[in-house]
Symmetry: C2
Subunit: 665 residues, 2 copies
């Protein structure tokens, strides 16, 4: 479905690496990767590096189809990995992750001060491997690399839609491939409590539908992540987003109860009761238990989106606020956060919270995760608190990779920070909220766009070439399949299922140019809850249409007057295919209720393509269109801009550009 991004003859001088290394210089020739390839560990060795070696061979097999076996081979290895020391038993923020990679036409070497760097070097090597007329090979290159930010994360929300163990594991594999080093695990939500507590068994017993992680499973994930140089930061959101806690433990709540798990999406009223000591006793015991599972130095307690309604309605809380001179709900939440911070600290952890946690008196070691905007990030840093950016990295909102990519933790308001303040910006996190993400499609929501965010967080600030980013992102995307991710394979399987057809070619054409609605639009178009099947075209297609993006590039070239003959031809060919698609697709759509809703979308595609072809012809023949025709076309296109069947047709805007250009005298 994704056209070859090199199809227009661009010369890609850059290598297919993502994130781009800090320093790179290309050499002469290439190292052949055939069945004689071997890898050897030198210097510091441990079980983790040995395991990394085996995973490397498995990934290399996956990328080449050449069978590499696990056994250690004797003799000089093709790739020597020289490590000076292990990383800490519990990985900490800011450990040395640097490595040096040298590839010649004869052999390759990775040197790294720690095993973290060595593992990053292995991933870079895997990305270098390409197919050539002489077989698989890695080009000769010298790389000196280290990350720009020490906190490079992916958050997965396992609360709204539970994500099974294998989903978490393969996404950790994907994170390793692009050098992300923090897995932020959102474990409790209004819709479900997902972490087993032995002290409070009703948290999952009553606060989930049976889908949760056992303590052993969570330990397994911590171990699995550690093996890949990834820290695990658990999040238990409080005092709000807490309905699931209250189903089994209603005494924690500010309202009367009884409570039931929420099955819809949105912001709900239930909130913990900060006026009772028993609330903090519970939290203390619970956090104490969780720290035996999660050894990381940081512990996330959420803190977002309190609407205060339960507090307002509870007279006891009202009098508590008066007694403690807490003038409003913000002050009450601040009091709550302060108490929780002390509990977290007593358990030898550093507290992390969302924007709302930051108050003038917030202790300086609290880390603020900024989701509301760049101002919050800058404010934290100015106030002396370290901070992580997530605003701009909300991968659930179906924005383009470009938009995420160009969001810089030190851009916007943060650009004006002092050097001292800038140091408090630890990095960022892509956040995968799961209202519209089942375990079936989550990979396609996370990848490949998260690779672009990973580059932003790792590579030098001035690496910002968007076209290069897209080419490299899709190259890496293909390689991620070798890690078992399903972001590419899921679309054709779902298209088959939607229509009950073996080869839904025409449906695939339609699928290639539509996108899910962006931001929070989807819920406004239709009602959803956690029983809603996410099996429609909107769920099957990737968040960003690469065909549409390339069509935009084509149109820019055509309108700009610098399109090649091949680009004119491709534009015409695509528009013709899109125009003719509805006639072929229409009879099949009726056979399934899932595809039936697509009839207007398919018709629109045909109509806008017809308009596009007309404009293209005019442009090619240097024939200026009549103003009235232009106007009428633009009106039709305007109508087509609206989402249909919760889908956005992504070629309308570039066709508008064509029509406008064709209308210019």
């Amino acid at each position: 479905m994704i056209p070859d991004t090199l199809a227009f003859g661009e010369q890609v001088s850059s290598l297919p690496l993502m994130p781009t290394p800090a320093h790179i210089s290309q050499g002469e020739g290439q190292l052949k990767i055939d069945s004689s390839f071997t890898i050897g560990l030198e210097g510091y060795k441990d079980a983790r590096l040995e395991f990394a070696r085996k995973r490397f061979l498995k990934a290399l097999s996956g990328q080449t189809g050449i069978p590499y076996h696990e056994e250690v081979s004797s003799g000089t290895p093709t790739l020597a990995v020289k490590t000076s020391a292990g990383s800490k038993e519990v990985q900490t923020v800011g450990e040395d992750e640097s490595y040096h990679l040298e590839v010649t036409s004869k052999s390759a070497t990775i040197s790294a001060p720690t095993s973290l760097g060595a593992m990053h070097g292995l991933e870079t090597f895997l990305q270098l491997v390409i197919i050539t007329p002489n077989g698989f090979a890695a080009p000769a290159v010298t790389i000196d690399d280290a990350p720009r930010f020490s906190w490079r994360g992916l958050m997965i929300d396992a609360g709204r839609h539970f994500q099974p163990m294998d989903v978490i594991k393969r996404n950790l594999d994907g994170m390793e491939a692009v050098k992300l080093n923090v897995f932020h695990w959102h474990l409790s939500e209004d819709q479900g409590f997902r972490a087993e507590s032995k002290a409070f068994p009703f948290l999952t017993g009553k606060g989930s539908n049976g889908d949760y992680y056992t303590q052993n499973q969570m330990k397994e994930i911590v171990e699995y992540a550690r093996d890949r140089g990834i820290r695990v930061v658990p999040e238990f959101d409080m005092p709000c987003h807490t309905t699931a806690w209250f189903v089994g433990y209603s005494d924690l709540a500010s309202g009367k109860g009884p409570y039931e798990i929420q099955t819809r999406w949105g912001v709900f009223d239930p909130a913990m009761d900060p006026s009772r000591e028993s609330t903090f006793d519970f939290i203390d015991k619970f956090i104490g238990e969780m720290t035996t599972i999660f050894p990381d130095e940081y512990f996330h307690v959420g803190g977002d989106e309190c609407n205060g309604k339960e507090w307002d309605a509870n007279p006891q809380i009202k009098s508590f606020m008066q007694a403690h001179q807490l003038k409003d709900n913000a002050a009450l939440q601040s009091y709550f956060s302060g108490r929780v911070q002390k509990i977290v600290a007593a358990h030898h952890r550093i507290m992390v919270g969302w924007d709302e946690v930051l108050q003038p008196n917030t202790p300086k070691d609290v880390v603020i995760q900024s989701w509301r905007g760049p101002k919050g990030l800058a404010a934290s840093a100015r106030q002396g608190n370290r901070t992580i950016l997530s605003n701009g990295y909300y991968i659930d909102l179906n924005q383009s990779a470009e938009e995420h990519y160009l969001t810089d933790p030190l851009g916007g308001d943060a650009a004006k920070l002092s050097d001292e303040e800038k140091k408090r910006v630890m990095g960022g996190e892509a956040t995968m909220w799961s209202e519209f993400t089942t375990s079936e499609i989550i990979d396609s929501r996370i990848w490949p766009r998260t690779a672009a965010i990973a580059e932003r967080l790792w590579s030098p600030q001035d690496v910002r070439d968007v076209e290069s980013m897209y080419i490299r992102m899709y190259a890496v995307s293909n390689k991620l399949e070798a890690y078992g991710l399903t972001h590419q394979t899921v679309t054709p399987l779902m298209l088959k299922r939607m229509g009950g057809e073996n080869d839904p070619k025409d449906l695939a054409v339609l699928a290639s140019i539509v996108q899910p609605p962006r931001g929070y639009d989807r819920e406004s178009l239709k009602e959803y809850d956690w029983h809603s099947p996410l099996n429609h075209l909107v769920d099957a297609v990737p968040p960003e249409s690469e065909t549409a993006r390339q069509f935009n590039v084509l149109v820019k070239a055509i309108v700009g007057g610098n399109a090649s003959q091949a680009q004119w031809q491709t534009a015409k060919q695509w528009l013709t295919e899109w125009r003719d698609n509805d006639a072929k697709l229409e009879p099949a759509l009726k056979k399934s209720d899932i595809t039936a809703e697509l009839a207007p979308v398919s018709q629109t595609l045909s109509q806008v393509s017809t308009i596009g072809l007309r404009a293209l012809d005019d442009l090619q023949n240097h024939h200026a269109a009549e103003a009235s025709a232009t106007q009428s076309d633009l009106q039709k296109l305007k109508a087509a801009e609206k989402p249909q069947a919760v889908l956005r047709d992504m070629i309308v805007t570039p066709i508008e550009e064509l029509v406008q250009a064709a209308g210019k005298k």
Copy 2:
């Protein structure tokens, strides 16, 4: 890649079930499968059925994209499963596997005397679910079903290419879906010993490359299979195919050694030494250990393909034969088998062996697995031994599903057996030998063709409609994806990798009409060993081209004079696409050494399609071709019949038919 098999307007009255149930009658209306669907267990309950219930919901989610959660719901379930009793702790041959399934427009019921039948009923229900204009639904139906044969197996060779745990597990899932009930695990080969022995640690320690199953893993598989109503029969092949045993324990061998694991394919000389008591002591201890892991009543000891060279060369063995009046190597092997049979029996197991094991004095309880031909099967049954058919079910040989499907355990020589003798034919097994099968592509070698074999072994003998079989097989093939099998997704991923392209459309066109060579031809075309990458087009394409098969059907209709307008048109459209493909594909092929070899294959496709188009035109215009032109075309086609780059172009034969038809006056 697979055209919709319903494209030519066939009316499929049969339901998408495979295997076809013994008795089926369709009712009125359909049961809607939406998010309100629930399932409940009644009568006998145990952990296995509860687990089956959860797996059913997961599979149903996978098939529909509707999220079903594990929790038990209150109220009357949509699907009630009524089970009378559990199956035996260790499942035995011939347990009752029957079930009754009733679906109305309001609800559904499965009733079964045992949990085995209940699980089969669940799989049938899953297959009934289709997409309709009113959403997912199961048609109203009454089914009474039970298997024709009690032994319905799949053998996987983990010796030549090791197959990791996840591969075994997902194939067990696939087996369950088509009601196969025996997993025959080929665990030792010349190329590797794959089962951990604590008594003899060098079996894997020296006799493998580190790829083997630990005892816990094997127990895990036994448990996993049992949960799915599948017995696990381990095979340790002896006295030949035993090189791997001898690397660590050369005293077992008839030759002098030292031995090394074989890395090539074929029949090798090493054989166990039947002249030494120590050999049988070893086997006794080893089998004793393995029976603690594999509880099944049957134990497979191989016995195939001894070339006798090591025996001939060993004077000690020669004098042993003389002393025991063993006149030739067959007699020596017979002596060996007899001793082994006693050991197996002493460990309370029934011995299974390949054809060669059968001798006039073979004990009657030994089961013969027939791989050499129908004669062997019939001979066993006549001699009083029970037997299993595998000849005709060698899925590694890239035969068509049709050929496997029409092979009947009671066909050929066995058709002439008496009723008493016929009862000794227990069933059959698909055998997945792994010379040319890595863990990456094994699913595509096994599925979907094994579903056709499963139908042969389950359904009534007179269920033999090949067109219906293909339609249902591809329907089930799509559903198998919901079990995590990768037989469909692997091809596009490999095509991408082969050429380094994001959307290798033109390569996919070529891929759609080629097939791997059949039988044992491949090795004669090129040399292979276990280091050979299986990453070429021959490995990426399915063993049977569905496009080519459908083209054959088209051509038959055209030549037979009963083709519809649509069929004429499709034939012309396909031939045109194939003719024009080379011009588009040719430049891309040069970029990769894996695709470079395809240039002649692509050219041939273009050439034969040109010939086909000419013949098609002549036929359509009722213009009889010149005899000399016909002759020259046929000659060119003859040349194109030969495999190229180890691939067979599957449209040459039907084009020959077109040319011949066009040449008739």
